[in-house]
Amino acid sequence: MVAIASASVSTPPSSLKTMTSKVASGSDQRTIFVVEDHPTTLAGIHSILERFGSNIALETLTTLQAAREAVRRLRPDLLVLDLQLPEGPGEPAATEFGIQFLKSLMKDYPEINIAIHTSYPDALVRIIPDIDNHRGGFTVTSKDSATDKAFERFKAALQGYTHTRDIRSLKAGLELKPEWLETLDLACKDGYQDRAIAKHLHVSESMVRNYWSKIYDVLGIYPEDAKEEGRNLRIVTCLKARDEGLIE
């Protein structure tokens, strides 16, 4: 994992502009909701988020009800979410509640940025297809991860990137949605641009950009790194895809 701390938060890659949340107030002010009921963990998350500096508006929610209400009121730039949560105050917490909340959240707000911070990342395996369909940022961090790593993932999510390798587990080969493979084929074999690919696949251009973000995740390409090294992101991707046998 390469640190991306130096990347500017305020200037995301142009291709990801639409995916980042609308700024609530002011140009640099970011709204972050933390949904977590465990005080100790909450303190840990707060300490991680402190690294974002002063241009952060933080709101903490301890139940799913409160979280649902808050998101309806104001769309945050990032939602940091534990999975084991209670529905209402005083009620028992369960991973299943968190999963259900996450599913409905992704359905209602397909472009919201989400960072999952959980002890049981495996619970997400079941909804990988939903995560794959999600158009906003989505990263997963295990609670036992180092602070640095967690910060990077939160930040990546805020920027609209996807990082789900932790839950994709140790399987042979790469798992892609058929649309992504088509996108790769069209771009790398036929040299099509996003607009042309979108037309070909009968989807929006922003959807194609979303596909790319997913493909980067699958191939383990980190746009910030590639840019820093001065490489063309698409070409790097095509090369890697060919290496991995995604393009025949």
Binding site: V125, P129, L170, A172, L174
Partner: protein, 662 residues
């Protein structure tokens, strides 16, 4: 004796328990008794009574009673017999020394006919000459006059005829209380009937004595001089037999048990006596009834008996058999009394009304008993018919042999009717029995299917887990990979897996879960949406360490949501198993596969689950157990399963599609 009684008591209790479950039969019987009480059966019962009497075998000619018939010419009235000619005829008859002579001829009360003196004289001199009178309204006809009081009282009988409501004659008077001016009928003068007088005169000359019944002074009896017994004459009541509150039945009447057949009485033409062509011995010691009959149009009374006057076929064609003439009626009535005393030919008796009702109820219960004692409706029906016929036969015989008039019509209706209602009951209970049998059968089938499923599940569990490991171990052994540590590791895993199978089956049986067996048991919650569950199965399956997966570079996976609310747990499990097995096959057989595609798509009204690889394709035509299970799943979903090699021979496609539920 006691055990038998016990058995029959149990039987009766059983019978009532069974029949009371369907009380319509009881209602029927009660309804019949009520209907009979209301008189709805009266006409039918009387008609059946007539038919029974008429259908008895012929009895032949009565030797005791002779009719002397004077033919009247309706055209030449002055040619009819004058009173002096009548007296002359009687004198001829008396010269033959008959036992008793009945003159069933009416003449005006007062007459200046020259023969009147002779007639009166005959009555005074012959105590065995009986005359007739009519005493009942509408038009009484007194005896001829002037006669001494004793002659008028002792030698005259009434020949009024009681009619039934249907206009027919079935009963005759034994005697009657003459109507008088006051309302009190007990002190009214009593008169015997003409026929009774004749019989009485005849029987007294034979030594019989007329007495009153020791228990009921209303009932006349003839006492046999030589035996202690006596012949009592059955007296009709208003409700006797088939009669229901028949107002015309007054004291004292009895039913007419006419002689059956068409030649029952000797009839002598009076003219033959006048011209002496008739042998007079035919009248000796007989009851002679003298009467006038219209030669051309004899008046027939509506009685079921056959007239002696219509014998040859010629007249039979002209005159319909509509009954018998007056003298015949008197002759039959006299004959039945004499015969019952001398020959013990039965007079017609009835049983008390309560006994009749009891018979009807018993018949109904018998019908019910017959009905429920047979399982087959047809048998019940046939038995009912047979028993009904038998009962009717018994009723007929009792009338014929013993003169006992039983309520045959209500019995013959109540027995089969009550029985038939229970046929319905039987049918119902049979149907419910059948239904419960069917239910039991379905249950058995369900259990059988459950058993089948359990076996299949057990097998697929073994197939998906331990057998896979075993075959890969075999393959390794064949390839010469027999390091002890490897074999030991594999065997340990195998041991674990086999143990796991049992646990998995046990838990699967109780919960809504699918057990994916890998290094540790993983439970998949089948209450989650199936596309998610299938994705989990997929991601777990491809994690397996199988030779076919080693070379995989790309997995294209997309499982669209589909409606799975209607799928039962078993189908869900089978779907999971189908996906697991299909991927397993790739891992096992499709060596060198680089790309796996798992696509779940809604296509029109179908949902299609397709598993594709780009391996070597299907190499053996052998249909494995896995494929067989897939065909079973196809059946359960009423869908379509197919497994084939791709056209270019590069890869295998395994597809299951089924109609999606809206």
């Amino acid at each position: 004796m006691l055990p038998f009684l016990k058995v029959s008591l149990t039987g009766i209790r059983h019978f009532f328990q069974q029949s009371s479950r369907w009380p319509v039969g009881y209602v029927m019987i009660a309804g019949l008794v009520a209907a009979r009480w209301l008189g709805l059966f009266a006409t039918l019962e009387l008609a059946v009574f007539d038919i029974f009497l008429r259908s008895r075998p012929a009895e032949g000619i009565d030797e005791q009673v002779v009719i002397v018939l004077i033919e009247q010419d309706p055209v030449r009235v002055d040619a009819n017999l004058s009173e002096s000619q009548l007296a002359e005829l009687l004198e001829i008859i008396f010269s033959a020394q008959p036992t008793v002579v009945g003159l069933n001829v009416f003449r005006e009360e007062f007459s200046d006919d020259l023969g009147r003196e002779q007639l009166l004289n005959l009555f005074e001199t012959h105590k065995n000459l009986i005359g007739v009178e009519k005493v009942l309204p509408p038009r009484p006809i007194p005896p001829i006059a002037p006669l001494s009081d004793s002659v008028a009282q002792n030698q005259f009988g009434l020949n009024d005829v009681p009619l039934d409501r249907d206009g027919r004659i079935r009963r005759v008077f034994v005697g009657a209380y003459l109507p008088d001016d006051n309302d009190d009928s007990t002190d009214n003068p009593f008169r015997f009937s003409f026929s009774f007088k004749l019989a009485e005169k005849y029987l007294t000359t034979k030594g019989y004595a007329l007495e009153n019944h020791p228990d009921n002074p209303d009932i006349p009896i003839f006492k046999d001089p030589e035996s202690p017994g006596f012949t009592s004459i059955p007296i009709l009541e208003n409700d006797s037999g088939g009669y229901v509150r028949e107002a015309d039945i007054s004291k004292i009447q009895t039913l007419l048990n006419f002689r059956s057949g068409s030649e029952t009485l000797q009839v002598i033409d009076a003219s033959k006596l006048f011209d002496r062509s008739q042998d007079l011995e035919a009248l000796t010691d007989k009851v002679v009834i003298v009467d006038e009959v219209d030669a051309y149009f004899p008046r027939f009374l509506p009685i079921s008996a056959s007239s002696n006057l219509i014998q040859d076929s010629e007249t039979r064609d002209i005159l319909p058999r509509i009954g018998i003439t007056g003298p015949e009626l008197e002759a039959h009535a006299t004959s039945q009394l004499i015969r019952s005393a001398i020959d013990t030919r039965p007079l017609i008796r009835v049983i008390p009304f309560w006994a009749e009702d009891l018979l009807i109820v018993s018949a109904g219960l018998l019908g019910i008993a017959i009905s429920i004692s047979f399982r087959s409706t047809l048998r019940s029906l046939i038995s009912l018919a047979i028993v009904t016929l038998m009962v009717v036969g018994v009723c007929y015989l009792s009338l014929y042999r013993f003169g006992l008039w039983l309520p045959v019509a209500p019995i013959a209706i109540s027995l089969p009717l009550a029985g038939i209602t229970y046929l319905g009951f039987n049918y119902r209970s049979q149907r419910s029995a059948l239904r419960s049998q069917e239910a039991a059968l379905v249950e058995v089938q369900v259990l059988e299917a459950e058993r089948q499923k359990a076996i299949e599940r057990a097998f697929s569990a073994i197939h998906a887990g331990p057998l896979q490991r075993l075959s890969s171990l075999l393959r390794s052994a064949k390839d010469g990979k027999t390091e002890q540590s490897f074999v030991l590791e594999e065997l340990t895993a195998l041991n674990q897996e086999i143990r796991g199978v049992g646990e998995r089956l046990r838990q699967e049986a109780i919960g809504d879960v699918y057990f994916f067996y890998s290094q540790g048991d993983i439970k998949l919650d089948l209450t989650h949406p199936m596309h998610e569950v299938l994705y989990e199965v997929y991601s777990l399956a491809v994690k397996r360490k199988l030779p076919g997966f080693e070379t995989v570079k790309v997995r294209a996976v997309s499982i669209e949501p589909f409606n799975c609310g209607q799928l039962n747990l078993d189908v869900k499990r089978q779907l999971c198993w189908f996906l697991e097995e299909s991927l397993q096959n790739i891992g096992k057989h499709a060596l060198g596969t680089t790309r796996i595609q798992v696509l779940g798509k809604n296509i029109n009204d179908f949902y299609s689950l397709k598993i594709e690889d780009n391996g070597p394709g299907i190499q053996s035509t052998h249909i494995g157990d896995g494929t067989q299970s897939s065909y079973r799943l196809e059946l359960m979903l009423s869908g379509k399963f197919s497994r084939f090699s791709k056209r270019d021979g590069k890869g295998t496609v395994c597809e299951l599609s089924w109609p999606s539920i809206k």
